[in-house]
């Protein structure tokens, strides 16, 4: 017997929610979300899932620097581009 049952997922309602989301979402804010997502994914990879929400920014930066692993601007710049001003800012965060 072939089982058939109408799904309860309401696509019209889902589409409406998505449309409403993109009424307030600009390309810039969308990009920002995905850039932050990538940065967080990078940190989770380094520190382990589960730790990332509890760890302090200072500890992250200190550990990344100690591992010669820090990159600025979504971690695309090498450590040599890491300036003292940014250092102070990051470590104080």
């Amino acid at each position: 017997m072939r089982l058939k049952r109408k799904t309860m997922v309401d696509l019209k309602k889902l589409q409406k929610k998505i449309n409403e989301l993109f009424e307030s979402e600009t390309t810039e804010s969308l990009l920002e979300w995905f850039n932050q997502y990538d940065e967080k994914a990078y940190l989770v990879k380094r520190f382990g899932a589960g730790e990332i929400d509890n760890i302090s920014i200072g500890k992250m930066v200190t550990t990344l620097v100690s591992r010669r692993d820090l990159r600025l601007d979504a971690f695309n710049k090498p450590l040599s581009d890491y300036t003292p001003v940014e250092d102070t800012y990051c470590l104080a965060a």
């Binding site: 049952r5 799904t7 997922v9 309401d10 696509l11 889902l14 998505i18 997502y37 990538d38 989770v44």
Partner: protein, 174 residues
């Protein structure tokens, strides 16, 4: 995969693969793999053979793996595999976001798009997403140079749709 109507609900039997540990699982474990297709969720295989292939190839840390079976209430799933309307809806949303970002020079993963929708509350009324890719399992290449078979997985967001979770198989990785 077996289906049955339980009361008013269509349930499907699906499979959850894990490394064998000291303790048996009483419920599925959320997948935290960085490359999980749809991000953090409870993953189930549609086909028992894919569950075995996954155990042998990706759950090798202890040398043994387990497969748990469960009944899945499919009522509130977004079915992008067998439901044409839901598949087209799904493709439209993924392509909308991916295209928007690509125009700005950013290429993103399916996982990140799904987690974006999840965080924004779009999937709050959806208990899980059934989706597919193509398996690398050589057993599936019965015909020359053509992978005719879908590899189907379910990402469950809400454990309420999972019942009868029980050990179905345990064995050594080969």
């Amino acid at each position: 995969m077996k289906s049955k109507i339980a009361g008013d609900t269509l349930e499907k039997k699906m499979y959850h693969t894990q490394e064998r540990r000291l303790r048996r699982l009483s419920e599925p474990k959320p997948c935290g793999r960085a490359n999980a297709w749809l991000g953090c969720a409870y993953y189930f295989w549609y086909d028992e053979r894919d569950a075995h292939f996954w155990g042998n190839n990706s759950k090798r840390e202890t040398g043994y793996f387990e497969i748990y079976s469960a009944s899945i209430d499919t009522e509130d799933l977004l079915d992008t595999v067998f439901n044409e309307e839901q598949y087209l809806f799904w493709v439209k949303q993924i392509e909308f976001v991916a295209t928007k970002l690509k125009k700005s020079g950013k290429v993103v993963s399916l996982k990140s798009i799904n987690e974006y929708f999840y965080e924004k509350g779009i999937w709050s009324d959806v208990s899980g997403i059934l989706f597919q890719d193509i398996s690398g399992n050589p057993d599936n290449y019965l015909v020359n140079n053509f992978q005719y078979k879908k590899r189907i997985q379910l990402a469950v967001f809400d454990l309420k749709i999972v019942s009868n979770f029980a050990l179905d198989f345990e064995g050594q990785c080969v």
